[in-house]
């Protein structure tokens, strides 16, 4: 047997030290999340009730609920998804499965990465110029969701492309050798194996679009409207803008109310995320490699 030397002992000590240090860093990382959630629940928990969720604001937005904003956010995110997911997934399939390796493909990839880096306020102004004024959709859910969709496209494209490329080439080759076309291979082999990754992209998009304020405040979301949207051409209230409004624009709002709005907004994102993560884990458990 070995006798532990001084050097061994020293190495072991250093090892423990670094492990502790890195563990501490990880702990620090989740600290803000815990503090935010704790504060929101403590301050805003009391506001949440059936009436808060399912009635309109009253008394100059200092009382009542958030129902129009809640429904508005669901509309905005849903329409943005309907637009961006098919577009993003199709683009990613082309880039991953069909595109030849040349300067054009590289340029397109570069453009997508740059699009992801464009600040949301720039997307907002683009949305006003393109969708509200040029296409003449007016300030509407359609214009706001299109703006959100443009903003979220890179997320969907990059996530989808990554997950398509994670499917081993051998799978495709086996399929081609059976005489299948490229499309048949994509449809029957690549996509079913990549769906969990694609879903991650969609989750990320939902979380991001739910919380965005700048792209919607000029293109479709309003300070106040007492009605629920009936079509994509209506304007609507939205949770993120409502949070901004009740915390900074309206005098005499009870202190707890903004916390309540923030709590519901966070809960929406977290619920969406956990549902999708659960679904993703289920799909992954069926993965064949």
């Amino acid at each position: 047997m070995f006798e532990a030397t001084a050097l061994n002992a020293r190495n072991a000590r250093i090892q423990t030290l670094f492990r502790l240090l890195f563990g501490l860093m990880t702990g620090l990382l989740i600290l803000p999340v815990i503090i935010i959630l704790f504060t929101l629940i403590q301050e805003g928990g009391a506001v949440i009730s059936y009436d808060f969720l399912f009635t309109s604001p009253t008394d100059g937005m200092t009382a009542g609920g958030i129902f129009p904003a809640l429904i508005g956010t669901i509309w905005l995110v849903a329409v943005a998804l309907i637009i961006s997911v098919p577009l993003g997934v199709a683009a990613a399939i082309y880039l991953s499965e069909y595109a030849p390796e040349n300067w054009l493909t590289r340029a397109i990839n570069l453009a997508i990465i740059n699009l992801a880096g464009v600040p949301s306020i720039v997307h907002a102004l683009f949305g006003v110029g393109a969708f509200v004024l040029f296409f003449n959709f007016g300030t509407s859910i359609l214009a706001a969701s299109l703006t959100l969709a443009v903003m979220a496209l890179p997320v969907v494209i990059v996530a989808t492309r990554e997950s398509l490329q994670a499917v081993p080439l051998a799978f495709r080759e086996a399929c081609w050798n059976m005489g299948a076309t490229r499309w048949q291979t994509i449809r029957r082999v690549v996509l079913p194996n990549a769906v969990s990754g694609i879903l991650t992209g969609v989750i990320l998009e939902v979380s991001r679009t739910t919380g965005e304020t700048a792209p919607i405040m000029f293109t479709g979301a309003v300070f106040f409207t007492p009605f629920l949207p009936q079509s994509v051409f209506d304007q609507t209230m939205a949770m993120s803008l409502h949070l901004f409004v009740v915390s900074t624009q309206v005098p005499g709002v009870p202190e707890q109310l903004p916390y309540g709005v923030a709590l519901v907004l966070i809960a929406m994102v977290l619920t969406m995320n956990s549902l999708s993560i659960a679904f993703r884990m289920y799909l992954r458990s069926r993965k064949k490699w």
Partner: protein, 291 residues
């Protein structure tokens, strides 16, 4: 395959139906001044009970935002806490719009001070000495006071962002035509932010609509000249124009209002509509008795 087709068909059909539903309701778009936004919200809230078929969507952003939307033709009613400039009216006409002005109320611009500040009266000249470019006053001692809690007694001058109608009106009323604000003001993005800041900062002075006053700040009594009697900002002194920094509040429509926009504006000017603005801390456009 068949089931999938049916799902796609359903989705397409429901989207189509949603698009058809677009004209089932009358929508009025109302945008602009942050000073007016809370009144506009209260009007929209009350009007929804009067005329449930009319949906009024209110947004803020500042008078400049509302006027820009009027020029672009994307609103039915633009709110503004300042009169449109001739250049803006010309631009609107070039874009095929014809802005028509309606005065819906009056607003007293209160000058806010920290409650610990011994100053309680200010003249327009003194305000100008604090706010104007090349200002003479940058220390509270220039006004002959020592402010408790204010470390080196330097005045912290709080103003608004430059697309605010409040900013433009205060400039005109206090600094005079063509007068410029001094450098180094703290420009806040909302009337409420100004009041919140002054409340927490003993050195500060700021201005905002009277409606944004709270119990935690002091409002200066304003005189037109040093030595003349001063007037405190209230709904009454704004209504009878004795308060020196009171301004009209505007709503602009494209052409003379018609149909539902006309009914809405008419309702705003009824006693019922005017009592709503009075209850929000602004002066009504005409005398009303509210409970």
């Amino acid at each position: 395959m068949n089931r999938r087709r049916r799902i796609i068909a359903t989705i397409m059909l429901s989207t189509g139906l949603l698009a058809l539903g677009a004209h089932a309701r009358i929508a009025i778009q109302n945008k602009g001044s942050d000073t007016l936004v809370n009144v506009a919200q209260a009007w929209a809230e009350a009007y929804a009970k009067k005329a449930p078929e009319v949906a009024i969507a209110v947004s803020g952003g500042g008078s400049g935002t509302g006027i820009a939307a009027m020029i672009n033709g994307t609103v039915d009613i633009a709110n503004s806490s300042r009169r449109m400039k001739q250049s803006e009216i010309d631009l609107a006409k070039e874009h095929g719009q014809d802005p028509v002005e309606h005065i819906v109320g009056y607003d007293a611009l209160a000058v806010f001070l920290h409650p610990d500040n011994p100053v309680s009266t200010l003249s327009i000249e003194q305000l100008s000495s604090i706010y104007a470019r090349g200002q003479e006053f940058d220390n509270w001692s220039d006004l002959g006071v020592k402010v408790p809690g204010c470390k080196d007694n330097t005045i912290i001058v709080v103003s608004r962002q430059n697309n605010s109608g409040t900013y433009a009106y205060f400039q005109e009323a206090v600094l005079g035509k063509g007068g410029k604000y001094r450098q180094g003001t703290l420009d806040m993005h909302g009337s409420k932010d100004v009041v919140d800041l002054v409340e927490k900062t003993p050195c500060a002075i700021g201005y905002s609509g009277l409606a944004y006053a709270t119990d935690h700040v002091k409002m200066a009594c304003i005189s037109s000249q040093v030595g003349k009697p001063c007037v405190s900002p209230t709904v009454a002194t704004a209504s009878d124009r004795t308060y020196p920094i009171a301004r009209p509040l505007f709503m602009y429509t494209n052409g003379a209002p018609k149909g539902d926009v006309k009914s809405y504006l008419d309702w705003i000017l009824t006693d019922e509509g005017q009592c709503i603005i009075a209850n929000k801390g602004y002066a009504p456009a005409h005398d009303v008795t509210c409970e």
